[in-house]
């Protein structure tokens, strides 16, 4: 028996079937991932869509003008969300830059224990904690205020801010900092002129991460923000529960765009060497 006559006839048929099955499976997977997104996009431009019509009966942007009218509240919610997200980023960076710098030093005692400690807010179901934060905040007059909501968001984002900042500082070689110190720079000056600029892309990534967490946060805002703070996710929930699919879908799209942009550009900010040492 020669080699050439042995596998060929048996191999090609499964090859074709295999290709078909492979593309069918990938097609099905793509439909499962993008179907819900497409459905939402259609709803944002559907002016009239009733069962059992498979596609909207009338298309248009009528609901967009409705959403952006001042009395709809969506613009105010967008503004509130942005203000809270920016404040949350500022607070997180103020806390995470020193903490991340300290955690980037391997000589720090109990280092891995401290790293784990920051993971706590992600390792426990948060709803029960959020409702008790609201109860405690009530005594301080923080419920229903921007500051209260900012504090809850910062807690959820802090683990990412601290871990990414620590990885960013750890990725900097000791030599450059030592060179600056040898030239007579004080530790603070060496930090400000060498470490901080070199870690900036990583810190930028952590800032974007915290911004998104704040923008999307739901349960903390739900408990602490009542009754005055309406962020975009809460506005979307109300629109959805009132059965207004168009308004809910347009608000969902507003929340979606920053997340998708981040996914597409995250690798530019977060270099592989930094990413590899996050949480280590």
């Amino acid at each position: 028996m020669t080699l050439s006559q042995y596998p060929l006839p048996r191999y090609q048929i499964p090859g074709v079937v295999g290709t078909l099955v492979r593309y069918a499976l990938i097609g099905l997977f793509a439909a499962a991932v993008f179907g819900p997104l497409l459905n939402m996009l259609i709803w944002t431009v559907a002016e009239a869509w009733y069962f059992p019509a498979k596609l909207p009966l009338r298309w248009g942007f009528a609901f967009w003008t409705k959403v952006f009218r001042p009395e709809a509240g969506a613009m105010k919610a967008l503004y509130t969300s942005m203000v809270i997200a920016c404040l949350t980023v500022a607070l997180s960076l103020v806390l995470a830059i020193p903490a991340g710098y300290a955690l980037s030093k391997r000589s720090l005692p109990l280092r891995s224990l401290f790293l784990l400690f920051f993971l706590l807010p992600q390792a426990f179901p948060t709803v029960a904690v959020h409702m008790n934060i609201a109860r405690i905040f009530y005594g301080f007059g923080l419920t229903g205020t921007i500051w209260g909501v900012m504090l809850v968001h910062a807690i959820q984002g802090l683990v990412f801010a601290v871990w990414i900042a620590s990885a960013a500082f750890a990725a900097i070689g000791e030599e450059q900092v030592e060179a600056a110190r040898n030239l007579g720079a004080t530790p603070l000056r060496a930090f400000m002129t060498v470490s901080l600029p070199l870690a900036a892309p990583g810190l930028m990534a952590s800032a974007i991460f915290v911004f998104l967490i704040s923008l999307d946060e739901f349960s903390g805002t739900f408990f602490v923000g009542v009754p005055d703070i309406r962020t975009l996710p809460l506005t979307m929930l109300n629109a959805a529960l009132e059965g207004n699919y168009q308004i809910a879908s347009i608000t969902a799209l507003l929340l979606l765009v920053p997340s998708i942009l981040f996914m597409l550009f995250v690798e530019r900010f977060l270099k592989a060497d930094v990413l590899a040492s996050v949480g280590k």
Partner: protein, 283 residues
Amino acid sequence: MDTPRLRKNLPLVALLLPALLMVGLLFVYPLLFSLAYAFRNEGTGGWDLSNFTKAFALYGADVSLTIGVTLLSTALVGVLAVAVAGYLTLGENPRAVAVLRWIYRWPMFIPFVVAAQLMRTFLAKSGMLNNTLMSLGLIEPLNAMSLLDWRGVVVTFVWKQLPFAALLIAGAMASMDRSLMESARGLGAGRLRILIEIVLPQVSATVWVSLILSFVTMLSALSVPMMIIAGTPTMITVDMAWRVNSYGDYGVANALGFISFALSGAAAWFYLRQGVREGGKPA
């Protein structure tokens, strides 16, 4: 610890302190508060199990539903994530691998609230899923039904968490030594067999980590059941919000919270035991 080392590191600890205080005051303290007040009887001012009795009487079905939904979703995420990561690692058609790599990550950064809203329209009786199945002739219009109950929650959870688990698992698989896989392939082993017998045992620590993080994430989701399930039975996060906002009843809410902490604690215990049984330190 010797004193010079401590003194040398004191400035570092000082830098760390504000962030530690923040987590301590705004997370650990409310967490302990929640655990303690689950046992507080506001009626008598004493400490007992009355909140738990009431919680199980009112929401026993919801506790079971929560456990069932999160376990089923976690299992589905596990199976699908291993399949996706396995294909990304062992797939031999570069174009198919590239396409899959591009597709699977999309839902990862989509917030839970938005995912819930997408599924609310997609899975509804008149939603795109039913429309497509009807157009393809797979179901009759009369049989079209809304999936907006516990099934919708499972679909949303799996849709949202799959990329996260697949990303972690694919990363672990990519850093494996490929020579063993290639020699098994050379000996004629099928790719499914290589995945199950060679690759999976080596990445099991990562699989467990990703599944437990997913489990806890699903357990804390409030927006998804709130938006997808109309009425009862629902998940306990919704019950907690209801007890607090409608009755100011923190006792029963904290008892339900205690149950959710206990469930995530059980997951963590299971994970640690798994690590011990495999003879290694959990990653």
